[in-house]
Symmetry: D2
Subunit: 341 residues, 4 copies
């Protein structure tokens, strides 16, 4: 249920609505909007009667919401969610580029890549300190030490840091050291971790699981938002299909579908999806052309020595050329008049 307040409604009206929702044993989520405030109701197993709320002072309309996600849905919040980060805005129409190495390997590597991507025009630095690896025998990341290297790279370059948390312990540390907390594809349905992320004070970068539907992804965002953290960024990174020419199949048509169903920003990670350096640039361009709010790219100054996934990292010159193209494409795409929704 979404309760939309009238334009001239007062703070008292709003408080009364929230109280009446809570008196029924449900949860009220106040959603401020440019034009009018709304209150999302969650926790009700069965549909509610709109009449209960439409009689209250200041209420314009009570709309039953049928989709299983609520807080993440456009019905709840028609305007795009915007997230300020490092002086720029995610979801505000400008393309946001996150770039960096797959894994943090040592201080020198992080710093050199950070300076490279900053000079090329990236908006944030990525780099894994905790690596969720299929095998327990593979390199699992530098952990806290890696986080500290990332923090020093931020000091040196001014770039905000996006890095992954793989469990509740690492999330505590990532929240302390980084600017955006990434939840990886393998943890997209790790609900304990999502709930913990929902209590964090930093934005969450949520990657789509490799067999997650659009609905699954939005419901995982819902887990985060239901705990009070509404700054969630969704990221397509490829799904598992029979197709073998690419590591995963990048499902770019989810970009317009997500923008239709949700107000949350949508990113694409073409590096992990394709797994091949030569395919990253075309798919990054395609992501922007499909309307993505941003891309996450792997860049390496010496990919032949990278400890993990080196074959997919862009080389410096290719990255510099690509970022220029992406910003040019974004300008053309922004001119579209077709309804996003």
């Amino acid at each position: 249920m979404l309760i939309v307040m009238k334009k001239g409604s007062t703070g008292e009206d709003l408080a009364r609505v929230v109280r009446s929702v809570e008196d029924l044993g449900f949860r009220a989520h106040v959603i401020p909007g440019a034009e009018r405030t709304a209150v999302g109701v969650t926790g009700n197993a069965a549909p509610l009667d709109p009449g209960v709320f439409e009689g209250l002072p200041g209420v314009a309309q009570a709309i039953p919401v049928s989709r299983p996600w609520k807080l993440a849905g456009r019905e709840f919040r028609p305007e795009d969610t915007r997230i300020r980060l490092g002086g720029r805005t995610i979801g505000g129409g400008d393309l946001f580029v996150i770039a960096g190495p797959c894994a943090v390997e040592n201080e020198e590597q992080v710093l050199s890549v950070a300076q490279l991507v900053r000079a090329a025009g990236a908006d944030a630095l990525r780099g894994g300190a905790y690596k969720p690896r299929s095998s327990p025998h593979s390199f699992q990341g530098l952990g806290r030490e890696g986080l500290e290297m990332l923090a020093r790279a931020r000091e040196a370059t001014g770039l905000p840091i996006v890095t992954e948390a793989v469990d509740e312990d690492s999330l505590d540390l990532v929240e302390r050291h980084a600017d955006v907390i990434q939840i990886g594809a393998r943890n997209m349905q790790n609900y304990a971790l999502l709930r913990r992320a929902g209590r964090a004070k930093k934005p969450i970068f949520l990657k789509r699981g490799m067999s997650a539907t659009l609905e699954d992804l939005l419901l995982s965002a819902e887990y985060v938002m239901n705990e009070g953290n509404s700054d969630v960024i969704l990221c397509e990174r490829g799904i598992r299909t029979f197709s073998r020419h690419s590591r995963y199949t990048l499902d770019l048509s989810i970009v317009p579908a997500l923008r239709d169903a949700s107000h949350l920003p949508v990113f694409v990670d073409p590096s992990h999806a394709t797994g091949l350096r030569d395919r990253v640039a075309p798919m990054a361009r395609a992501a922007v052309a499909a309307g993505a709010d941003g891309v996450m790219l792997e860049v390496h100054t010496a990919p032949e020595h990278a400890l993990s996934d080196g074959r997919q990292a862009l080389l410096p010159a290719a990255f510099r050329e690509l970022i220029v193209q992406l910003r040019e494409l974004a300008v053309i795409v922004a001119r579209r008049t077709e309804a996003v929704r």
Copy 2:
């Protein structure tokens, strides 16, 4: 085996190579190139000994080819295949746009859409006279009558015609009336039809089957080319996956993969893939950004009345806006320096 001739080799040298291939019981395919001529050898079950040919006059090199496709492969022909059509070139770097209704319904409809897409800047007209439908109880197309309507639309607008053949009989008629013969996704492994297409004198527009791998698609092109028709255009139109937000999952990363593996032009059909009008424009832009040589789009002047697939046809205004954007994007993409191969 690919036999590459020396730059200064003579026609006599070439004839001698061809004869020696045929004397061994194999097939020789002469592949003229801008710089030098090559001869593809097919029909050999086991690998051949390069020494047999390298001793002949005029032969620069004999290269064993390990990939299962030969004629369709870059090894056989490093330069992009270019196909002239209606005064323009497919595969030559310029974006080629094929547009029109899903099915031919009546003369007035075809003509009005043809004039619309021509005015908007399309390069060719599409329209189905034969519709392969999952159910025998669905509308199967107007057949020969539909072909004649398309031919009259060509006379009126000058646009070349691309239309589907569904069996050997319809292929005879399509070859006579149209400019490009489309083989649909369901017939991608109908080898009798592919062989017949290989004997046609018109280019073949070959759609990827909904569960075909890159290898399957190139081997189907190989069936056509093996009969002597080297003008094959490949088209991605979506694959079957678990993902349900889109009718099929448009696998755009096959575009750079195909351009890497093959010299044939690569198109994308976002209309059938998405099945929803609002998703067509973003995915068409993404296709161009991924490096496609062209797109095939469904356009309808009155989609609410369309006999088949009306929900996916672009409306006139949206099409006009889209084609302008696509051509702008193509210019940016063309500036890329990353190796296509």
Copy 3:
């Protein structure tokens, strides 16, 4: 629309119903049943009014059928379709085993395998004379000569022959020489071939395409039945998924789903699905346990020399052991009381 006749209705009543259907421009399919006759109506684009037929003498009920398939559906024909072949019955509750080599290679091979499978207790002989191969450069089968070898193996052993037709020409020959005409997975949506099969006087063994849904498969059966041939056998042979431990993913849960939706017999081919000899026996047992009416198995007396797919052919001893187990399992499964529908 399905028109069910009353128990005591006359032939004249039936003829009148058929005439009135045809007068409306539709097609009437008389479906004799053990208890009562029904008339299926096809060719109507929009739903029909039951009242039109319920007023006619001898008509018990006119039932609108909403599923897209009609002739293949349980609504049209509640009793299982039974097909007599070589003195046995397919679909009648007894397990029917079709076995033989992947491809016909020479007379001696066919005969020796035929005698082997007959001695082991198989009900029919399979063997490909026409092989639809992904590559035009692969062995394509012995053609007519292979059919004649199969026919001689039938004379020698009494086993009926199941073999594939790949186009209309080969279908003519297969219809003449064989007892059951197989349509392969790649041709499951080759509608011209399906229509030709519908005019054949022999049963059709229709394999599921590797990305076909249950609905697609039944609609392809519908193409055959719509031309008058109601003896269609459905066969699951594996679908394309991300899973790589098996060549295709055998989707056994389609067996009870098909038996629920359709009256046609359902077979399973575990040989092509798994592609590995060691996996064939477990999956054949699983197919029978899931309720399949029969299985199609590849057997070879010298699989190390087989020209195609030798790695998946069962060796003689394994086949003899398997067929005994399958018949024992079938007895247990037949005792089930859960509703098939």
Copy 4:
């Protein structure tokens, strides 16, 4: 690396081998066998030189293992892992049946289902106290209270309890109250949880993720085993594919593939895979026929009132009939002579 000890080797020899492995900075896993002891080495990034160990007293052979999983692999331990539970043996050749409600709802429900499944011949009781649900707004289970109800049902019936842990906190409680700790499909790559499970003193029932390959599943088992818990049971529960007639596609061919690659017991859960009561019995039979060591089934005495997934729970009479059939099928399957490996 797998170091195989000689038959007459001493405990001292073994200790020396372990020490020399640890001195190199790697981990040694002693694997006792019926005939001879082996030592698995993990933690080495690069292949080791067999000569280093083959020179030590008591060492028969040092075998480099190329597959990415080690502890879970057949190479490491040729004999099947057997796990004693409630007086019966999992993996020892007898079929092991786990049955019960999807979710624990109340004491009466658990007890009545427990008595029902015990009377019918089940070997263990399942029931979810913690339910990982896609939506935060869905019923999440009774938690600790549910565990206590399960424990009381064990007291009343003697059946061991299998129940899911969804995070580290619930795993602590599940370890205390239950006999087998289930890790669900969504947590199959939650490595923190897997490591915690590896430190538990109870067997782990590990469900395959819905897009996990065979390799992914075995590597997740490896995470558990690498912490010292070698009692891992693998469970197929359906994968995500395009196929829509079933909730997930039950990939039964992974059963023989897993038994070939690993020594761990393999179960199948047909209830969640199919999602439809009528499909559970055929697929349970198929699982046993494919060689599964056991099945996990949902049973409900009043499924029309079940709080979650009621449509897939077997009714009492159907369950009683099914379990008899499954045990009969298992006897036939056990007689097979084809090599499991």
